[in-house]
């Protein structure tokens, strides 16, 4: 299933390249904005300007894999009723879509992850990780995709109750963009807002992997960071499992 998903999601490399172009453009604009901020306040939030610029291009590279802007295809299938077919399959609904989403993340990472980082590295000095940090980043990224899937799966299943997903999806989009650190790194959030933002699941999408990439979390701190992501992943996937069970009962009430 994951292999077919990978082939399907990597079938249009030109389209992915177009997306990557937009990511690169936004990366440059945001990088200049962050440089201006870090010029005014050097070492804000424990980052220096190089960290901030690296963070910015890394963010653009991760938009695709952790799917900040999109939901799941499942959302449409629930609205259309195609989900009935999915529920008939002799596999678990959540597992099926998780396999597809992991494949999508891998394909997007390959096609869209590189250009922003390469373009950024050509124009600015970036802080690139050593082999150890890179391996830790790989784990953090996998956990980030799991958390992202957990969130989007819950949003998708909510369509069984609300019928029109677009309002809910846009709320999820706002929370995701703001609290993942995509707009402004969470280290630059002041006071209690920062505390709250760093404890919410969206922090696990971009801020935590980026911190690992930049080598800000090492030793026991690294384990705490990965533990934070893993805890949210388990909680969200567990909630998804419970809701899936509820959905199966609900669909019977509707008559299938």
């Amino acid at each position: 299933m994951a292999w077919y998903g990978f082939r399907r999601h990597s079938a249009y490399p030109l389209s992915a390249l177009a997306e990557a172009t937009a990511n690169v453009a936004f990366g440059f604009i945001r990088a200049f904005v962050l440089i201006a901020l870090w010029n005014a306040r050097p070492s804000l939030g424990g980052y220096d300007a190089t960290d901030a610029v690296t963070f910015c291009f890394l963010t653009q590279a991760l938009i695709g894999p952790v799917q900040i802007f999109g939901g799941l295809e499942l959302t449409r299938r629930i609205r259309d009723g195609d989900v009935a077919v999915d529920l008939h399959r002799p596999v678990d609904l959540q597992g099926w879509w998780l396999a597809d989403d992991l494949a999508r993340a891998a394909a997007t990472l390959l096609l869209r992850g590189g250009p922003p980082l390469v373009a950024g590295a050509l124009a600015f000095p970036l802080r690139l990780p050593g082999p150890g940090a890179l391996a830790a980043f790989g784990v953090a990224l996998l956990l980030a995709v799991l958390v992202s899937f957990g969130l989007r799966y819950l949003v998708a299943l909510a369509v069984f109750w609300v019928h029109d997903d677009r309002g809910l999806s846009s709320a999820a989009l706002v929370m995701g963009m703001f609290f993942s650190g995509m707009i402004v790194p969470l280290v630059a959030f002041p006071g209690w807002l920062g505390e709250a933002a760093r404890a919410l699941p969206w922090a696990a999408l971009i801020q935590v992997p980026a911190d690992v990439f930049l080598g800000k979390r090492t030793g026991a701190d690294l384990l705490a960071a990965l533990g934070f992501q893993a805890a949210w992943a388990v909680a969200l996937l567990g909630a998804g499992r419970a809701v899936t069970a509820a959905v199966r009962r609900r669909l019977v009430i509707h008559g299938g």
Binding site: L14, S170, M177, V184
Partner: protein
């Protein structure tokens, strides 16, 4: 124009069949637009001036750029769907109807929800204007109105120009977002933040600097960081006309070149 209004009204009535959904979507669109503003305010929570500009001045830039962009997005934003229409062959259906395909695409799915973007934009503009430390003259006040109108026209031209590119690129819609959405994001910030080559690029190649930056230099009475002549500050309306003319030519050329998917 009359047909545009008629088609837009039809789509609004269709969207209004689901009032709750429409209201929620409008709020959602407003919030997404407000995120950029929240980002700016977060930056200025750390420093009173960034790149030589105060919070009020940057919010003014945000407000003018976002208002212009919201107006152009309401009028022509859906033209970016052209690539999909070409791919799915639905452009052929539009071509047999006795209305310009541009009008048909632009009014497609026309819904008040897209006006949601105007809410944070106009609010920011209204809050920033009284806080600017500028010596207001009738000329400066008039310039604020002119820059929003000219900015909206420039963005409208860019919407049409970038969608005309899709006659060639077909699948390149995401890349042209760099110019439209990226341009809207770029113009929310003072150009003093950006590298000089980038500023030259958005002044002379893709004329985003005329959306609000050049007129704002006049309103705020600032020197141009590139040392460009002062006359450029009044050039926005002329640039808007030029961009729209280029867009018109590109659209017609694209439409003439168009051959159906053939399936």
């Amino acid at each position: 124009m009359r047909l545009y209004a008629l088609l837009a009204w039809t789509w609004i009535r269709s969207a209004a069949r689901y009032p709750l959904s429409m209201a929620l979507l409008t709020v959602g669109v407003a919030l997404v637009g407000a995120l950029d503003l929240a980002g700016i305010l977060l930056l200025f929570a750390h420093a009173p001036r960034i790149a030589g500009f105060t919070a009020a001045e940057v919010v003014f830039l945000y407000g003018s750029s976002a208002t212009s962009f919201a107006i152009s997005d309401v009028l022509l934003g859906t033209s970016e769907r052209l690539g999909r229409h070409i791919r799915e062959g639905t452009l052929d259906t539009m071509l047999v109807r006795p209305v310009s395909p541009l009008v048909q695409i632009a009014t497609e799915d026309f819904s008040p929800r897209r006006l949601g973007r105007l809410v944070p934009a106009v609010t920011a503009l209204a809050l920033a204007l009284p806080r600017l430390e500028t010596a207001w003259t009738p000329g400066r006040a008039a310039m604020v109105v002119v820059m929003v109108a000219a900015g909206a026209a420039i963005f409208s031209g860019l919407w049409v120009l970038t969608s005309a590119l899709q006659f060639v690129l077909i699948d390149g819609h995401a890349a042209t977002k760099a110019v439209t959405h990226g341009g809207s994001f770029l113009t929310q910030y003072p150009m003093t933040m950006f590298g000089r080559d980038l500023v030259r690029g958005v002044t002379f190649v893709v004329p985003l600097a005329f959306v609000n930056w050049q007129p704002a230099l006049y309103v705020l009475d600032r020197p141009d960081p590139l040392g460009l002549p002062g006359a450029l500050r009044f050039a926005s309306p002329a640039v808007a006309v030029a961009v729209c003319a280029a867009a018109g030519v590109a659209w017609r050329a694209g439409l003439r070149r168009y051959r159906s998917t053939g399936s």
